[in-house]
Amino acid sequence: MSQLYDLRMLIENKIKADGLDAMDVKGKIGLRSGRMLAFITPTTADEPQAVAKLRQAVKDVLNINA
């Protein structure tokens, strides 16, 4: 599995665990990272720049160091 997908799973789990508004959280992370989470699959290729952007977005929105 790709790092991007791992990050996506991390986000989904955090949303479930904390009972967050899924659409709102995913939207904010998607806008910050420039990538819709719905398009990230286990086979999505890891581009270093995309991984870094998503990681930073996760930190900004959920305050998690992924």
Binding site: M23, K26, G27, G30, A38, F39, T41
Partner: protein
């Protein structure tokens, strides 16, 4: 509060307007007060000068009438013609207290020229035989007509009338003089206007020893050293502090001058001065005028406070109204667009933007809603969309 928000910038602009408005009002009121107090001061000086002139003319007229009456008295006329001092004093002395009550403090008979010495002083009978040699003495000898004016003499600074005294044959037997102390004018002026006055005499025209002697006689403090160029002959207030003048009395404009306005305790006062000339036209003294303008000042301050309060209330209401309008018409709707855009990216493809108005923001809402539909439609047709099932459930 974020500084880059339009809301913050608008608020800052409005608060700046508020401060500028209040500052403008304070500056305007200060300017207005300065101008009005200057006008009040000018009016005080002008009216005091007019009043002084009127009093001078009235008293001169009174003294002229009294002298006319006296010259018609044959006993007085004969006694003076005979140079019988004892008889003259006997006849005139009973009249002097009455005249003094009316303000005529100086009463003299002078012999005719060429000697022209004081024959009798009703206000000081023991002293006679001295030669005064004043401008008015020379003038009355020269013209043989009444000489009128202010004259600084040993008995003080007084408005005087000096006129020839004729015997029964119409010949000049001597001269008759009446005088009223100018100092008493200022008390009459105060009772009429409520302003305070001070009578200043230039030291150039006052003998130092005479001043010391007269203060001793009147049991007054010798104030010679209080001021550099003048002495205060009389004043209507016990407060010396309000009479302040550093210049030369000879340099005071004939129209009078407003010096300054100042505070004394809770009072706000304005000072002015106008010159007093003697019969020869010399600026021998000046009248100092102090008017209390506290009432005007308090009224101006009240107006200023009301204006500031009204400005603050009006601009505060304006700020609230503008921010409320901006919030309802712009900020809240922009926030809604941001929320919808965020949720669409998050997967909420059904959330729509309500377009309730066709104003500028409404046009943008409509455009964005159209864009959202295109975007959702595009997502629905992406074959690679792994979350297709998720889309269909929505």
């Amino acid at each position: 509060m974020k500084l880059n928000l339009i809301r913050t910038k608008v608020l800052a602009a409005m608060v700046s307007c508020l401060l500028a408005g209040v500052g403008g009002i304070v500056a305007l009121m200060h300017y207005s007060f300065a101008r009005n107090s200057q006008a009040l001061g000018t009016e005080s000086v002008t009216s005091a000068q007019k009043l002084f002139t009127i009093l001078e003319a009235r008293e001169t007229s009174k003294m002229a009438a009294v002298s006319d009456t006296l010259m018609m008295n044959p006993q007085l006329r004969d006694a003076f013609a005979a140079k019988d001092r004892g008889r003259l004093l006997e006849l005139a002395a009973p009249l002097y207290p009455q005249l003094k009550r009316e303000g005529i403090t100086n009463w003299m008979f002078h012999t005719s020229e060429p000697d022209m010495v004081v024959f009798l002083r009703l206000h000081n009978p023991a002293k006679f035989g001295d030669h005064l040699d004043r401008f008015m003495d020379k003038e009355v000898v020269r013209t043989h007509a009444p000489a009128v004016g202010n004259e600084l003499a040993k008995a003080g600074f007084a408005v005087r009338i000096l006129r020839p005294f004729y015997d029964s044959n119409g010949g000049v037997t001597g001269y008759l003089e009446f005088g009223e102390e100018l100092g008493q004018f200022i008390h009459a002026m105060k009772s009429q206007t409520g302003d305070d006055y001070g009578l200043l005499l230039s030291k150039k025209f006052v003998d130092r020893q005479f001043w010391a002697d007269s203060n001793a006689v009147w049991k007054r403090r010798d104030n010679w050293d209080d001021n550099a160029n003048f002495v205060v002959a009389d004043r209507t207030t016990s407060n010396d502090g309000i009479i302040q003048f550093q210049g030369d009395l000879a340099g005071v404009s004939g129209q009078g001058e407003v010096l300054e306005y100042f505070r004394n305790g809770n009072s706000v006062l304005v000072r002015g001065i106008f010159p007093i000339h003697d019969a020869a036209g010399n600026a021998v003294g000046a009248m100092f005028v102090v008017r209390d303008i506290s009432g005007f000042y308090l009224s101006m301050r009240h107006t200023q406070n009301v204006l500031i309060l009204l400005t603050v209330v009006a601009l505060t209401l304006g700020i609230i109204m503008v921010l409320t309008l901006l919030n309802n018409l712009v900020f809240r709707r922009l926030q809604h667009i941001i929320m919808v855009a965020t949720r669409v990216v998050g997967g909420d493809y059904e959330r729509e933007i309500r377009v309730d108005s066709d104003d500028e923001v409404g046009q943008f809402e409509q455009l964005f809603e159209q864009f959202r539909r295109v975007f959702v439609d595009l997502l629905a047709h992406v074959p690679e969309l792994q979350e297709k099932s998720e889309l269909q459930h929505k």
